[in-house]
Amino acid sequence: MTRYLRTLRRFWSASFSAEMEYRANFVVATVVSVLNLVGGVFTIWLFFTGRDDLGGWSMTQALLVMGIFTLLSGVSDALLVPNLSRIVHFVQQGTLDYVLLKPIDSQYYLSTRNLSPWGLPNILFGLGVISYCVVKLDLPPSAFGIAALAVALAMAVVYSLWFMLASITIWFVKVYNVTHVLQSFMEAGKYPMSAFPHAYRVVLTFVIPVAFMTTVPAQLILGKAGGDWFAIAAMLAVGLFIVSRLWWRFALRFYTSASS
């Protein structure tokens, strides 16, 4: 375990210094985050020009959902995108062999090797919006603890789905775009699930569990959902994570190196 933590520190300090070569990216990432935040708030506000709620949620409550979405996309930019989008290159160039030979869990290596600091603006804005909503809605301080736990569970769901989709490239190198499909469906996570028509909700809960990424955490923070929802979210997160590990092992059985 300590070995894994030690390597993690090495991984991240190495990729941090590498990314520092491209400091201009930080300006880009910050400007993009600011524009997205302003645009996102504007969009939610537009819904309130014609009625007083969005699927039964108040403006501040809906903002909480967007805050969680912003935080999740920041973490994805920092960790998921720089790592999981490289799996296809490892497969294409046959360098996955070297990863598999390393005396470290291959899924761990593939998922943590890189850390991109450019997710930071979104992480900070996400935390800011969540804090603003918690304070504005007069929620007890324990809401922050619930938020931390709920967002962690949501992140586990996002990670597991993303990793499983990214590892499809073991079979089909050409479908590396498939993670974009997940990302575009996740756009729906900017808004509370109850604002969607019934058929959408079914798809976004059972087919692609976007509901568990933002709406359920928000409901837990707001106290709209009780402990049983916590249990469901935890089971889904842990379950999907276990499935992702089994899936990776299964996929590796089909890996035939490209180089040899």
Binding site: Y22, A24, N25, V28, V31, V32, L35, N36, V38, G39, F42, T43, L46, F47, T49, G50, R51, L54, G55, F172, K174, V175, N177, V178, H180, V181, Q183, S184, F185, E187, A188, Y191, A195, F196, P197, Y200
Partner: protein, 267 residues
């Protein structure tokens, strides 16, 4: 000239057919209009809701927007960046044809390969939601086609102009990332501009963004209705053409400056 165009298009088309699987996934990844449609239809279905549009109009707007977006999808900045970074641009420069035609042909041919997927999705949509079906007036179709062609050219030119940055810095796609956020919120992708507060709408209509998505889409739904709702169609076409001219001139100027600066990486 005609023969050259045909060859270029058929080569690009064959190239695109190789990527059918990716095309299909890109299609699946363009669910944004459907997400926003769900939200707006649901929000406006309520008796108490008070928007400038009703649920059916929202549904039609967003399905028209889906079509428009499919027809105006542009990725030239990444393509160009790749060509510059990999040193692939150099051989094209030796040919007696401006490389821009290759990029345009690639985009046009891709529409052909994408077409069948779009049709299937449209049929599926109207089967699931027959109430939203409408037959646009012939005049509206004509106006929309004209607007789509101009929107395609404008978006292409905007990206291609930013792509010229590749001559000076290695990664120019950062510029696109920044304008994409503006495109997302000002172009009418999140809501038709009728919903915007009048002041924001007025400002937005002077920027190029609404002409890339909102303008062609709303023309296809009901141009007469849009005009009654305060859309000046003639002025719209004038602003659209104006921006197209501005970006084309800027682009040609930067292209000439850039070529002088070009050091042919990897060559």
């Amino acid at each position: 000239m005609l023969r050259r165009t045909r060859t270029l298009l058929s080569v690009s088309f064959a190239h695109m057919l190789e990527y059918r699987a990716e095309l299909f996934l890109w299609m699946l990844a363009s669910v944004m209009p459907f997400i926003m449609m769900g939200l707006w239809v649901s929000a406006s279905s309520d008796e108490s809701a008070n928007y400038a549009l009703g649920p059916l109009e929202f549904a039609r707007y967003f399905i028209a927007m889906f079509i428009v977006r499919q027809l105006t999808m542009i990725w030239v900045i990444w393509d160009f960046e790749w060509h510059v970074v990999e040193g692939r641009l150099s051989p094209y420069l030796l040919q007696p044809m401006d490389p821009v035609w290759r990029f345009i042909a690639g985009h046009v041919a891709e529409r052909g390969a994408r077409g069948p997927f779009v049709l299937v999705l449209l049929v599926l949509f109207f089967v699931l939601y027959p109430d939203a079906w409408w037959v646009p007036a012939l005049r509206d179709v004509g106006l929309c086609v004209l607007a789509v062609v101009l929107a395609f050219l404008l978006r292409f030119m905007m990206q291609y102009t930013m792509a010229m940055g590749c001559f000076w810095v290695e990664r120019a796609s950062g510029m696109e990332a920044m304008t994409f956020a503006l495109y997302m919120f000002l172009s009418g992708m999140v809501a038709p501009l009728e919903i915007f507060p009048p002041s924001v709408r007025e400002i937005a209509m002077w920027t190029p963004f609404p002409y890339l998505v909102y303008f062609p889409s709303t023309l296809l739904v009901d141009s007469a209705g849009a005009a009654a709702g305060g859309l000046d169609i003639a002025r719209g076409f004038a602003v659209l053409t104006g921006w197209l001219v501005v970006f084309t001139l800027l682009n040609r100027w930067l292209w000439r400056m850039g070529l002088k600066h070009y050091s042919a990486m990897g060559a």
